[in-house]
Symmetry: C2
Subunit: 344 residues, 2 copies
DNA sequence: CTCGCCGATGTGAACGTACACATCGCCACC
DNA sequence: GGTGGCGATGTGTACGTTCACATCGGCGAG
């Protein structure tokens, strides 16, 4: 028994097979295996098959870390997100994940809990430490832009759902337009006193919806009143409703999102008011449940998945050095259901 | 001017600084820098400071790929998820992300679109190719277990929201218990004819809730009837409601989740039935909006964030070689609101 | 005063892959 | 029939880090 190589063979750790193991089994050099892995054109069909068989036999998987090290390409797209439990962001992220994976990229997602600069910076910092190749921001908060320029991100990035503050890097559903559609719908129904419950002030999309609302009102020469600044939650809509409805100096409400609209309708019910009999309400987003609210909610539908897909396509294009692609905003769509009616 | 090193210095690519660059600036060896990065105890305070200054000056970031390569630790936890747009999974994932990041781990999330075996396998395959160190499954579908054993995952894993089919690896809110609580609540209100609208058959948690429902009914010697198999959506609840309410041979409904409950209430409204006057309804999950449905929904609250956190703690412990930790199920909580009342 | 130990630091390897370049055989062309 | 070229494959090296081991000075114990 020739145990002279015991040291080198026997006590070998159960190490994952590498490219050289595959090469040995296939009877070729490791470089040939590398070529197979990278779809090199000049490989004899027979050799190709042998290598493939060896790969299957050993259950070989390329080591991503080694690959990333030598190519200095992480194949990772970073996602800075806020409020991922909400329908919109969650839908976008899902689309992003799917598109990225299809293109051979992985995702590194991080949530920022607050809108504080420090929180954003730390999230961004974390992503940079993953050496991401591109960045998608779904935390459409104003301060994110500061942080991005402060940290010298140095990779292509886009922000989703934001408006054209930094239009080179923004990709968005036209929030202003959506808000105008919602407001116009109410105006066309005869409403003249319209309330707006907005999202948080530091959310760019909240700001955009507010702008759209105000502009449409201005165009119709209607009185504008200060919007209420909410926090996107149904509870806020509810308490705001209880408060506002004590005066009832309006007949319609445009809510910054569907959840707040739901809360507001709850308040109406509790105050004995009919929707849309006494008060008309429009939401924003068209979450899947909106069609089953009481009453089914008139709202503005956004295609969250579409902007997610576009974001990935845009960034991948940029990484390939392609000239810029279309940044056209995605058009939202007004979905008229039963929460809006003629002015009483 | 000594341009003799021009070749080596001048045309240098704008390469990211590495550990040797830091060492040079700090006037130490690269190994000392490595020690600083890994919090080695035996470093003179003065040296430590010099290295830290050099790191800041150069804006140095450790290369994760190189680190992963040499340590063969990816510091990545894989997450196989389904339906991430839903409140429950999304909440859990957020908690997981936060806990993982805190522990220095990153996440690799992948969504499976369908419950087909191939889809699960491909998702798992993708995760394995990222050389994940541990796996969390939030796609509580029966076939996932097959796939996990088929693919010989070889890393610690837990499944969330599933019930004890494979209890060594499961971590869950006690769905059976939650379902029993919901059902008992209805029984205590005098209902004897109770309908159950379940989630999809291949979802383990749907199965568990159904079991809880049936057992509680059995314990009370009440007639059991075949549950309706739904798909978790509000729309399904709505159409199922329209269908079932034509007969009205029941006075209470236990829905598999809040969305289906919402849809069902919509159907009741449309049929001119009062909730809870004519029909009582209980949901499951307690999504944030449930408190504002019409009427506010009685439901079973699950702590999604808690199980997410526990999953990470469990896996991290296992990676450190600690002996097993508690797998005790998280207890759900019945939240009584206004969608349930005494039998008419 | 010397020996041994320890704290602080440095040197050589290795991880698994892709890229640049070298090699080899073969065919077509003049 | 020599030569250039090309298709197919092999050899060296670098990527940035950590681990194992080597070195070196100082200090306490005998």
């Amino acid at each position: 028994m020739t145990t002279e190589t015991a040291r080198g063979a026997e006590p070998e750790r159960v190490r994952a097979p590498n490219i050289r193991d595959v090469a040995r089994v296939a009877g070729v050099s490791y470089q040939t295996v590398s070529r197979v892995l990278n779809d090199s054109p000049s490989i004899r069909p027979e050799t190709l098959q042998r290598v493939r068989d060896a790969i299957d036999e050993l259950g070989y998987r390329p080591n991503q870390a080694a690959r990333a090290l030598v190519t200095s390409r992480s194949r990772t797209i970073g996602v800075l997100a806020a409020q991922t439990v909400h329908y919109g962001p969650a839908t976008s992220i899902q689309a992003i994940e799917s598109a990225a994976r299809e293109a051979g990229y992985r995702l590194s997602i991080t949530n920022i809990s607050s809108s504080e600069y420090a929180s954003i910076k730390s999230g961004l910092d974390y992503l940079m430490s993953q050496s991401i190749e591109a960045l998608i921001v779904i935390a459409p908060q104003v301060r994110v832009f500061e942080a991005i320029s402060d940290l010298q991100i140095g990779v292509p990035f886009v922000t989703l759902e934001a408006t054209g503050l930094s239009s080179d890097h923004s990709l968005w559903v036209d929030q202003v337009q959506g808000a105008r559609m919602a407001t116009r719908h109410l105006i066309e129904l005869g409403h003249t006193e319209i309330m707006h419950i907005s999202g948080p002030q530091d959310w760019i999309e909240a700001e955009a919806r507010m702008q759209g609302f105000l502009r449409e009102l201005g165009d119709a020469d209607l009185r504008t009143r200060a919007p209420i600044l909410g926090d996107w939650t149904a509870s806020f809509g509810y308490y705001a409703g209880l408060e506002l409805l004590r005066y009832r100096d309006f007949t319609a409400v445009f809510a910054g999102n569907d959840q707040m609209a739901l809360g507001f309708m709850h308040a109406c019910r509790e105050m004995g008011l009919s929707v849309p009999g006494d008060i008309s309400i429009v939401g924003f987003d068209d979450v899947p449940e909106a069609a089953h609210y009481a009453p089914p909610l008139t709202t503005v539908r956004q295609n969250f998945a579409e902007i997610g897909r576009r974001a990935v396509a845009l960034l991948l294009g940029e990484l390939r050095g392609e000239t810029e692609m279309s940044h056209d905003p995605v058009q939202p769509e007004l979905v008229i259901r039963q929460s809006t009616g003629r002015r009483p």
